[in-house]
Every structure is written in structure tokens, then in C-alpha cells.
């Protein structure tokens, strides 16, 4: 069970959280103007890196807030967590992706 640093609540056990997959996949402003290929990428294609991954979590059974996290998918160690709409402090390439 991971220990996750919720930006609102501090370190809390994983079972209180739900993972929402890759972070920073913004919904297009005007979806109707998006072509089929780009739309399918928005819907389905995800970074799936071996290494640092930017992902979304919600503290479902806590403060109920979504936030972002950088986590190494090989060690499962968190690099950092940061609020929705925020940017990570770390500057790995994956973090900016």
C-alpha cells in the first residue's frame, strides 16, 4: 500500500485514493473541431513510461480533491505531488511531457 502525500492532507494510505491515470491530458477546447486521429489520441493514447510518470490522483476518501503526482513507475517512489492546475517542481523531461 503506497503512502501518498496529499497536498491538502499530508501523507495518507493509498486505499483512501483513486488513481486517475496520466496527468495533463487536457480536454480540447472545442472537441467538435478535433479530427478523428487527434480525438482518439486524446481518448486513448497514454504515456506509459518506465520511469517518472505524471499522473492524477484523487483523495477520494479524504478531502475529495484531485491533484497531480510525479511517481517513478519502476520503484513506485513518489517524486512529488502538486495541486491540480499546478506545475511540478522537478524538471525531468517526463514531468513536462
Amino acid at each position: 500500500m503506497l503512502l501518498i502525500d496529499c497536498p491538502c492532507c499530508g501523507l495518507r494510505p493509498e486505499t483512501e485514493f483513486r488513481c486517475g491515470g496520466q496527468a495533463h491530458v487536457a480536454r480540447p477546447e472545442k472537441p467538435v473541431d478535433v479530427g478523428d486521429q487527434d480525438w482518439s489520441e486524446y481518448l486513448f493514447v497514454r504515456a506509459n513510461p518506465r520511469g517518472v510518470h505524471a499522473e492524477r490522483w484523487i483523495h477520494q476518501h479524504g478531502c475529495g480533491r484531485w491533484f497531480n503526482a510525479l511517481r517513478d513507475t519502476v520503484s513506485d517512489r513518489f517524486v512529488e505531488t502538486y495541486p491540480m492546475g499546478g506545475k511540478p517542481k522537478s524538471t525531468t523531461t517526463e514531468a513536462r511531457a
Binding site: 491538502c8 492532507c9 486505499t15 483512501e16 476518501h61 478531502c63 475529495g64 480533491r65
Partner: protein, 192 residues
């Protein structure tokens, strides 16, 4: 005018099931009396106070003022409570205070059932299903947070320094939560 005999009476889901009982480990589990409770949401920039309910406390803490209490569960979320008879009054007062800013006040008086577990080993019993650190240092008097008890979500409140915890649970989970706490007390036992 409605005939008196038709007036509905309240029935709690645990009526009959949750008699206060002294359990192993010196733990007591009981259901608390009904109270007025609301989920209050106010976006960033909430006032320090609304109708006597503190709003400026740290996240995951509770402030009790007279008969009214407010537990801040998130940056823009409070669970507030007061005497059952004041339900209407609380709603009106809070609405009046917050009229000019985006907010939401929704009654959850019937959604939630309140259990209390107390006794020197209450925190250990809770830890049968609650994964949080409930030590005095990590979860002192004045703490309140949403968390888990086994397979159901609860709001766990420790208002005072004594080993007494309030467990707010959705009503259809209350039988489970009550049963879980009782079983947890039995789980405290060791070989004689």
C-alpha cells in the same frame, strides 16, 4: 390540517441493533442521538465564520462552539452540525451569511448516522479498519477527517482529549460500521 396520527416518526437504521454495549477491551460503542448536519461548500476565500460555525480552521480539524460544530474536511468543504431542533435555523443563518458568495449548503442529517466508540483502546479498535495513525500526536483532540473503516467510508472525529471518537457513516453502511466496531473490539482480545 394533517391528522396527528399521520405525523411521521423518525426511525434510525440502527434502532434496536445498537444498544450501548460494553465490549472486550473496555470499549463502548453506541449510536449518538440525531443531530442537524449539513455539508457546506464554499470556494476559496470563505469567511472565518458563518453563523457561529468556524470556517478558518486547518483542514482535517473540528471546532466546537456551544452546540454547533464544524469539521473542515477539505479546502472548500465542511461538515457542520448542531442541535436537531435548530436545523431550519442553521440553514437560514448560514444561507444569510454566505448569500453573496458561491456556496452550497445541503442537509445530510438523515444521510449520516453517528456512532461513538470510546474507551482506552478505542483508537486501537478503530485501527482494525482505519489505516490512519490515531496516536495523540498524529490525531490529537480537534481532529476530523474523512477516511475508511474496513470497506466503508466514514468521517472520523475526535473532538476532545478523551479517548472517544465519533464515526459518521452513511446510513446504509451503519449496520456494517457498527458490526465492524463490535468485531474490532473482540479482535482486541489476547490469550488469557
Amino acid at each position: 390540517m394533517l391528522d396527528d396520527s399521520l405525523y411521521a416518526r423518525r426511525v434510525s437504521p440502527l434502532d434496536g441493533a445498537a444498544k450501548p454495549a460494553s465490549l472486550p477491551g473496555g470499549v463502548t460503542v453506541r449510536q449518538l442521538k440525531p443531530e442537524a448536519r449539513f455539508s457546506l461548500r464554499v470556494k476559496a476565500g470563505a469567511p472565518a465564520d458563518a453563523a457561529g460555525f468556524a470556517l478558518d480552521q486547518k483542514i482535517n480539524s473540528i471546532v466546537v462552539r456551544g452546540g454547533r460544530w464544524s469539521a473542515r474536511l477539505g479546502p472548500d468543504e465542511w461538515l457542520i452540525g448542531g442541535p436537531e431542533a435548530d436545523a431550519q435555523l442553521i440553514a437560514e443563518e448560514v444561507e444569510a451569511t454566505l448569500r453573496d458568495r458561491p456556496h452550497s449548503l445541503v442537509s445530510v442529517s438523515h444521510r449520516n448516522v453517528s456512532l461513538e466508540i470510546s474507551g482506552a483502546n478505542a483508537a486501537i479498535a478503530l485501527n482494525a479498519g482505519c489505516p490512519l495513525d490515531l496516536s495523540d500526536a498524529a490525531f490529537p483532540a480537534g481532529s476530523a477527517t474523512r477516511t475508511l473503516l474496513g470497506k466503508c467510508e466514514i468521517v472520523l472525529i475526535r473532538a476532545g482529549a478523551e479517548p472517544s471518537y465519533r464515526v459518521e457513516v452513511w446510513r446504509s453502511f451503519s449496520t456494517y460500521a457498527h458490526g465492524f466496531l463490535v468485531e474490532a473490539a473482540f479482535g482486541l482480545q489476547n490469550a488469557a
